[in-house]
């Protein structure tokens, strides 16, 4: 068009944004991801890892994976975690403060010299027994999945623990895939959605622990299937006694990142630089938040200390 554009009425922007938010609430991703239970997320993550392990060449089982563990040792470590989870569900206080690595070291070590098929079968059986216990809890009207459990230094509802476990299985599946020279796996949107929600909910606490200056407000946008948008706040100096006292308004920073990449960041498998998020607002504060996110280490060992 060659003619000058007519001036936009001054109230049109607010009218359009209000109408849009009425049509679809802010923060809700579309299309809607089918909701699944945390137990289902854990089960799917276990199935995915089982498929990967079942397809491994025999030589891959002895390749270095993480820390001092080869692939077979890592699977043994996971068997040890399942053993501790079952003890946790049975109320054994010994596992509440046990170290995630130390407590499972014996299970990892005993895989040396074993047939990988035996290691795989043992882990699969351990997962099945965990799922059976969780299913029994899920049917328990009094306790259910909201019961707080204690494992490896964490105290959290059972439903959150199951998502953390799904996280752990996915992360270690990719450790194994990297060791075997396979492309990385991506969780399905329903599983990823639970993982991103969990990671987002833990971020303010991580920011405070990491000493990110506050009060702060984070607009976090995780793109792709299983992503979403969250407005989070943290305040290191928040005190219920003085909560009504005047405090400077929180500075807002906005971080936009790929949902899968963000999950790799919070599991300490990707650096903020590799994530390459889109940032608006105070870049130093954003960098602090991203560094704090990496300390969550949702593959568990460090999370134990954080949780």
């Amino acid at each position: 068009m060659t003619a000058a554009q007519p001036a936009v009425p001054p109230d049109l922007r607010a009218r359009v944004l209000d109408a849009s938010r009425r049509a679809r609430a802010a923060g809700e991703p579309v299309p809607e991801v089918p909701a699944i239970s945390p137990a289902e997320a854990f089960s799917r993550a276990a199935d995915a890892l089982y498929r990967t392990l079942s397809a491994l060449e025999s030589a891959a089982w002895s390749r270095p994976a993480i820390r001092d563990l080869d692939v077979q040792g890592l699977v043994g470590h996971l068997t040890g975690v399942e053993d501790d989870v079952r003890r946790c569900l049975a109320g054994d206080p010994a596992v509440s403060l046990a170290g995630h690595v130390e407590s499972t070291q014996a299970a990892a070590a005993r895989q040396a010299g074993r047939d990988p098929a035996q290691t795989l079968a043992e882990w699969r059986d351990a997962v099945s027994r965990t799922l059976a216990l969780v299913a029994a809890r899920g049917h328990d009207g009094l306790d259910g999945l909201d019961t707080c459990v204690a494992l490896h230094g964490m105290q959290l509802p059972l439903r959150a623990l199951l998502v953390v476990r799904a996280f752990e299985l996915w992360v270690h599946e990719n450790d194994i895939r990297l060791a075997a020279g396979l492309p990385l796996a991506v969780p399905g949107p329903s599983v990823l959605s639970l993982m991103t929600r969990l990671a987002a909910s833990l971020l303010p606490g991580a920011a405070v622990r990491a000493g990110v200056p506050g009060p702060g407000r984070l607009h976090l946008v995780l793109t792709g299937p299983g992503g979403g948008t969250w407005d989070l706040e943290w305040d290191p100096e928040w005190d219920p006694e003085t909560a009504s006292a005047a405090r400077p308004g929180p500075a807002e920073v906005s971080i936009v990142a790929d949902a899968v990449g963000f999950c790799r960041l919070v599991s300490d498998r990707m650096t903020p630089a590799e994530l390459a998020p889109y940032i608006t607002g105070d870049r130093d504060q954003a960098a602090g938040v991203l560094t704090a996110a990496a300390t969550l280490a949702l593959d568990l060992p460090e999370f134990a200390a954080a949780g």
């Binding site: 068009m1 060659t2 003619a3 554009q5 007519p6 936009v8 009425p9 049109l12 922007r13 009218r15 359009v16 944004l17 109408a19 849009s20 938010r21 049509a23 679809r24 609430a25 802010a26 923060g27 809700e28 991703p29 579309v30 299309p31 607009h219 946008v221 995780l222 793109t223 792709g224 992503g227 979403g228 948008t229 906005s254 936009v256 949902a259 390459a276 889109y278 608006t280």
Partner: protein, 186 residues
């Protein structure tokens, strides 16, 4: 990176209302201009702009960054919505015209309606006159006499299905005329 259409689309899909505000700030004036070009500046154009952005926000995945720019997508959406608004207005005017004929003592249409009647309805009427007689007859009965398809079928003495098929053919031609009149840039 942040300014790319693909990232804006991904942010909209993730429910990022800040992205929606950014899109409005970047393209709102152009969308309003496209709407105003078709329906005239004012409330009608504002309604079109609102429809366009609500559509984008409600169904962001319908925009494919690989298929073209976000600005182009929004402009196309605006023109379609504006033409829809004109079509709707024409039908309303046709209904009202029939009403005036039946209630001749009532007051005249508003100045806005008169303008629309003069400029757009005349285009449609001219197009109607160019329709084949059989199609013109059912259009006049359905839109200017307000008959249902069944009533028109009875009046003409043809099956109802024939009335519907003639109406479809006639409306397709009329819409083509409207598209040429309203969508071609000067």
């Amino acid at each position: 990176m942040g300014g790319t259409d693909a990232l804006l689309a991904a942010r909209l899909t993730a429910g990022d209302d800040h992205a929606l505000a950014e899109v409005f700030d970047r393209f709102g004036a152009a969308v309003y201009g496209a709407a105003a070009y078709v329906v005239g500046a004012g409330g009608g154009a504002q309604d079109v702009v609102q429809d366009v952005f609500v559509e984008l926000w409600s169904h962001p995945h319908r925009y494919d960054p690989d298929a073209g720019s976000l600005r182009g997508y929004l402009m196309l959406l605006a023109r379609h919505r504006a033409v829809d608004a004109i079509r709707s207005e024409l039908r309303r005017i046709a209904r009202q015209e029939r009403h005036y004929r039946l209630t001749i003592d009532e007051g005249p249409p508003s100045p806005g309606e008169q303008v629309l009647s003069a400029d757009l309805a005349s285009e449609v009427r001219a197009a109607i006159q160019r329709l084949p007689a059989a199609q013109r007859q059912v259009v006049e009965l359905a839109y200017f006499e307000g008959m249902t398809c069944r009533e028109a079928a009875s009046a003409v003495g043809i099956p109802e299905g024939t009335v519907k098929s003639r109406l479809r053919l006639a409306l397709a031609k009329l819409e083509a005329v409207l598209d040429r009149q309203l969508l071609e840039a000067p």
